[in-house]
């Protein structure tokens, strides 16, 4: 069951484990960009698009006229023209919600995401709606990898079809992206997920994130999560994941269709920032998070956190 949630901005600020700092643009900062010492990675993301190809119809409903892949594609192209280091990611539930899925089985969703240049996606529970075979069948249409680290698919048709994580090199920076999925039992009919084994996302998340940071020396570690933003009951969520792990810089969430007023910054086990973001559903919004990196050569070692956070893209 998905829970429609809207986080309250005031509550968001209060709950943030990490105080937000504002950064005055010092002259040295601008100089660094000019000299090429400063690098910028732009992360664009969606979640729970649910086969919403066209905007919602103009029928007086709350979401009328919103969304649509043709607009999203144009916006992505515009951002790509402005920024050279863009990663486009999706947090799952690509499938199900409009007759496009009932009639074409997800073929169109995968093709359009490939056309838009998605770099990776994870699996949501509804991506199993035509059975694990139904998802597998559409993979030839996906020119991007499906990242999932906590589903053991070895006894399924998908045994060689996914990756736990992928490394992206952008402008000399290494970005590790991995995927985490929600527990399927009680949510997806067993006949659809068959022998897929669900593994504990906290254990797996810690393991993969540590490997990405320490063995692969990633400058940035991103988790594509379909666990859900938060729950009233005691159930693993992005908030739990953020607090109980190390080495994850950003969790791009899904499942709960949460419209957040701003991304949430949580203090992780190392006391560092793990940012959680989710952008509702149905392609109504496109999320963007830019990370700035400074070359450390000839400089005193500075602590990695806290870094400056701005709710404004310059």
């Amino acid at each position: 069951m998905e829970e429609l949630q809207k986080t309250n901005r005031r509550r968001f600020i209060k709950q943030s484990g990490v105080a937000m700092a504002t950064l005055a643009l010092s002259t040295s900062y601008i100089d660094a960009f000019a000299k090429g010492d400063l690098k910028r990675i732009t992360i664009l993301h969606t979640n729970d698009v649910h086969s919403r190809i066209e905007p919602f119809p103009m029928n007086g409903s709350r979401n009328q006229g919103l969304g649509g892949v043709a607009r999203r594609a144009a916006l992505i192209n515009k951002i790509r023209a402005e920024q050279k280091n863009v990663l486009l990611l999706d947090a799952g539930d690509i499938f199900q919600g409009t007759p496009y899925f009932n009639l074409f089985g997800g073929e169109l969703e995968m093709k359009l995401m490939s056309d838009m240049g998605y770099d990776a996606a994870t699996m949501g529970n509804h991506d199993f709606d035509n059975g694990i075979g139904g998802f597998y069948k559409q993979l030839p249409n996906a020119k991007f990898p499906i990242l999932i680290s906590n589903y053991d698919l070895s006894d399924t048709i998908m045994h060689n079809a996914t990756l736990p994580y992928k490394l992206f090199i952008k402008d000399g920076l290494k970005i590790g992206v991995f995927g985490l999925g929600i527990e399927l039992s009680g949510l997806v009919d067993k006949k659809n997920y068959l022998e897929t084994q669900y593994l504990d996302p906290i254990t797996k998340g810690n393991e993969i994130a540590a490997a990405l940071k320490n063995e692969h020396h990633c400058d940035l570690v991103i988790c594509l999560s379909h666990l859900g933003y938060q729950y009233k009951e005691n159930k693993v969520s992005d908030q739990v994941l953020a607090k109980e792990t190390r080495n994850i810089d950003l969790i791009i969430g899904g499942h709960t269709h949460t419209f957040m007023n701003a991304p949430e910054d949580v203090k992780n086990l190392d006391g560092k920032i793990t940012t959680i973001n989710q952008v509702g559903w149905a392609g109504i919004n496109l999320g963007r998070i830019d990370y700035y990196f400074d070359h450390k050569r000839n400089k005193k070692i500075q602590p990695a956190t806290p870094y400056a956070i701005s709710n404004y893209i310059d």
């Binding site: 829970e3 029928n59 007759p99 359009l112 320490n214 400058d219």
Partner: protein
């Protein structure tokens, strides 16, 4: 001979020493990454009509759209108001419409059904807009291929199901009334009669929920299970068409079937 062995050993030791050096230098490098994260900036773009469209993308989905519209644009009825869902209310217009419609159609096949919970709140996937109801409207409300099943349950199992409904703060139901007090079901009536734990009941639901979907409770050990060979969505479509055939619009009311303190 011995000499060679020693040389080999030295050689292998040297190799492992070299490897060790490489490992140490790698570790040192990893402790001092080249770049430091200094700032994060974020934004959210609202995808609305103020944005331009990518004509290439429009063109790629046009053939699919034409096929879809040809099948899905048929108007099958009309709704006199927007029927909406909510996660916070025990009873909603959309939930009541959904449960009553499916219950009505299923009873035509199996009149012995006592009550229905054909979906959870999470299974209501889109609000039903005011005005024309197209086939696509029903597909967006109920996109899943779930089949309707009738489970004959012991009163004890029904009570588990009622507790599940109460703890969820209400679910879409038909022919069932209850008051939720402190997350427990009270004043329960089924088909207008007080619930008796000693009796058995026939409940209409989907194969998804019957298999424990959305963590539903009480349906794991039915005394009897009948598959109606009617999809939940097809029941909704049949109901809308039947209403239209008799000149009626689709509507729903909040009748207090589930209240919550």
């Amino acid at each position: 001979m011995t000499h060679i062995v020693i040389k080999k050993m030295l050689n292998s030791n040297f190799k492992s020493w070299l490897l060790c050096c490489v490992a140490i230098s790698l570790t040192v490098t990893s402790c001092q990454p080249h770049y430091t994260l200094i700032k994060q900036a974020r934004a959210e773009y609202h995808i609305d009509s103020s944005l331009v469209v990518d004509s290439g993308i429009l063109k790629s989905y046009q053939p699919y759209k034409q096929k879809m519209d040809a099948q899905m644009n048929t108007i099958i009825g009309e709704s006199s108001q927007e029927l909406t869902k909510s996660y916070d209310l025990p009873e909603t217009l959309l939930g009541n419409f959904f449960a009553d419609a499916v219950f009505t159609e299923a009873k035509k096949i199996d009149p012995s059904i006592d009550f229905a919970m054909p979906t959870t709140k999470g299974g209501l996937r889109n609000n039903l807009p005011k005005g024309n109801i197209r086939l696509s409207t029903i597909f967006e409300l109920m996109p899943f291929e779930n089949e309707l099943v009738v489970l004959k349950l012991s009163g004890r199992d029904v009570l588990q199901l009622l507790n599940f409904i109460a703890q969820a703060g209400g679910e879409p139901v038909a022919a069932l009334k209850m008051q939720i007090k402190n997350s427990e079901p009270q004043e329960i009536t089924i088909n207008g009669k007080p619930f008796e734990v000693a009796k058995t009941y026939s409940v209409l639901t989907s194969d998804y929920i019957a298999a424990g979907g959305d963590n539903s409770k009480g349906m794991a050990n039915p005394i009897e299970k009948r598959v109606l060979n009617l999809k939940v969505r097809d029941a909704l479509i049949a109901y809308v068409k039947a209403q239209t055939a008799t000149g009626k619009k689709i509507d729903a009311t909040l009748d207090g079937r589930i209240t919550k303190n």
